[in-house]
């Protein structure tokens, strides 16, 4: 089933970490396996933030294989060495869990080649690269993940998130949402639904040099949009193309450094409730997600089939 939520404050920052946590926690019944946040935080915008993992969370109902934790250190050292070889200067590094890291770094070259090199190290996956994007995903509900990664105080302009019920791929971090729009800085995607032309699209996109890290159909949306933008399309154009290019049922959100968008398939098979005002847009799979941050009576609506909307901060 899965639940998705998103919000964008226009013209101001807010405590998006705690707001998204409330929204996702309200949707816990739609997806208790894992929770993910893509927070567009108040960073200085000078350096890249790279979030990556060197292994999986093997607790909490995970379908991943147990590994000796000592391999995490070994892989991290290999990442550090690769960063040095690629000319990336690490300004700050945080180890958030035994298997996940946040690096603040300076880098001025091609992100695609950079990512390929880093991810050539066994079991290393870049969760996101961006100057404001902080992408966090792990097993457990919204409160558990927020507490584990200290998200309650993160301030920013916008955010999207996902509560996942694993159906066609494993209970693991690599299949959890959001997905980074590799190799674009600050692009993330969350999806509720099922794509039926995943393998056909994946083969085509892989032949064009795009990378997939999981076998989760939702990852296709991030890669699909990234490939469109790589060829010069705007985000909105890419999203409109996706209505015919992606087959199946879907409602998805995509966020960039300064915008947030939603798209709904032509059968309107997946739910979405939307609240729009001059200074805030909030949306979720169910109204209770919006009510968790706006308890007062408000006007909400369901976008129609085949609808694409994009908002700027």
């Amino acid at each position: 089933m899965c639940g998705i939520a998103g919000l964008i404050h226009r013209g101001k920052s807010s405590n998006v970490g705690s707001e998204l946590q409330l929204m996702l926690q309200a949707l816990k019944h739609r997806g208790p396996d894992s929770t993910g946040y893509a927070l567009y935080a108040e960073n200085d915008g000078q350096n890249f933030i790279m979030r990556f993992k060197v292994g999986e969370n093997v607790g909490e109902g995970s379908t991943s294989i147990n590994e000796d934790p000592s391999v995490y250190d070994k892989r991290r050292k290999m990442v550090d060495q690769m960063l040095s070889e690629l000319g990336a200067k690490v300004i700050k590094e945080d180890r958030l869990t035994p298997y996940s890291f946040r690096y603040e770094m300076q880098f001025n070259d091609d992100l695609m080649e950079f990512s390929k090199k880093i991810e050539s190290i066994e079991s290393v996956e870049i969760l996101s690269i961006g100057k404001s994007l902080e992408l966090i995903k792990d097993l457990g509900d919204a409160e558990a993940v927020s507490k584990r990664y200290g998200l309650a105080d993160v301030k920013g302009t916008h955010a999207i998130g996902h509560a996942r019920m694993a159906t066609e791929s494993g209970v693991d971090i690599k299949s959890a949402h959001p997905f980074w729009g590799y190799p674009f800085s600050d692009v993330s995607v969350v999806h509720n639904g099922q794509l039926t032309n995943y393998w056909n699209n994946r083969r085509v996109l892989e032949n064009k040099g795009m990378r997939f890290m999981s076998e989760c159909d939702s990852e296709l949306i991030a890669v699909y949009l990234a490939e469109k933008m790589r060829n010069g399309a705007t985000l909105e154009e890419g999203m409109k193309d996706s209505l015919s290019g992606l087959d199946g049922v879907f409602t998805y959100f995509v966020a960039t450094k300064d915008s947030l968008g939603m798209a709904k398939d032509t059968m309107a098979a997946k739910p979405l409730v939307l609240y729009e005002s001059d200074d805030l847009v909030a949306m979720g799979s169910e109204e209770i997600a919006i009510r968790s941050i706006l308890p007062q009576e408000i006007d909400t609506y369901d976008p129609f089939d085949g609808e694409v909307k994009v908002w700027q901060i």
């Binding site: 309107a268 409730v273 169910e286 209770i288 308890p295 009576e297 609506y301 369901d302 129609f304 085949g306």
Partner: protein, 284 residues
């Protein structure tokens, strides 16, 4: 065990090897005998007094607790219940089988007022997916918008949304009337079997797809007709009925119903007998 016998007259479907037996034994349907009215008990219903009114704040209640509380109030004879702070909670006001004035001061989540048989409901907000699903009788008025599957499989009663509704409104509708003041999404009237849907605004693609029967009236533009949905001429009785119904529904003042488009089933898909043999095998 049911009494089975072989039929003599074969339909096109039967001649292809589909079912060749019919059920002739007693069904499980029970009939009400008016002479035994004093012994008749409709489980879960109450005699209520419309003049006995109370408020119920459900802010800190979950849907089960809220519904139990409504039940308890009805058992005490309250006939007008005002629900405060529903805040988009799911499944509120479901399964009410007696007369009642039920007013929601706010919005409902999914499956609001489903399987009801008689109450008059007013929602001064929006409703989520599958509002009034399986409604059998009564009247439900939504002041704002509604989500998808509005009035799914309703059997009777009047279901009115003054705003716009999502996709698949009236899916599997088996009776009653659905009236929409605004626009409706894709697949409105999908597999509709009986009853009427009235949409004053525009409607999305695949209107009336695979409908068996029933009538859909559209005031605005139609995205596209679904499989086996066809336009039919408006008659005087259609116009008279629409005028009466909209007046009762307190919606669409001065709306020119004579210009509405009437959509019915072409009945070419009916019981699949019109399908070509190869298609039928695929369907089976």
């Amino acid at each position: 065990m049911a009494n089975l016998k072989t039929t003599e007259k074969k339909t096109k479907a039967q001649s292809m090897g589909m079912h060749t037996e019919v059920l002739t034994g007693k069904t499980q349907q029970k009939f009400f005998n008016p002479d035994e009215a004093e012994n008749f008990y409709y489980w879960g219903t109450y005699d209520v007094d419309f003049n006995k009114r109370t408020d119920l704040d459900v802010k800190d209640l979950d849907c089960k607790q809220a519904n139990r509380k409504i039940d308890e109030l009805m058992s005490q004879g309250y006939g007008t219940i005002v629900i405060k702070n529903p805040q988009g909670k799911h499944s509120l006001g479901v399964g009410i089988l007696n007369k009642l004035n039920l007013i929601f001061e706010g919005s409902l989540g999914y499956f609001g007022v489903g399987s009801i048989d008689g109450p008059m409901v007013r929602v001064n907000g929006r409703v989520g997916w599958s509002c009034a699903e399986n409604m059998m009788a009564g009247k439900v008025v939504i002041e704002k918008n509604a989500g998808s599957c509005f009035g799914a499989a309703i059997r009777g009663g009047d279901l009115i949304c003054k705003g716009s509704v999502g996709a698949r409104t009236g899916i599997d509708q088996k009776g009653g009337t659905i009236i929409i003041g605004g626009d409706a999404g894709a697949f409105t009237g999908f597999m509709m079997q009986r009853g009427r849907i009235v949409i004053l605004g525009d409607v999305g693609i695949n209107l009336g797809d695979s409908m068996y029967d029933g009538t859909i009236y559209v005031g605005g533009k139609i995205g596209s007709f679904g499989s086996d949905a066809v336009e039919s001429p408006m008659t005087k009785s259609d116009i008279d009925w629409l005028k009466r119904k909209l007046k009762v529904a307190e919606i669409g003042d001065n709306f020119d119903v004579s210009k509405m488009t009437k959509v019915v089933a072409g009945k070419k898909l009916w019981n699949y007998d019109a399908l070509e043999p190869t298609e039928k095998k695929g369907a089976i």
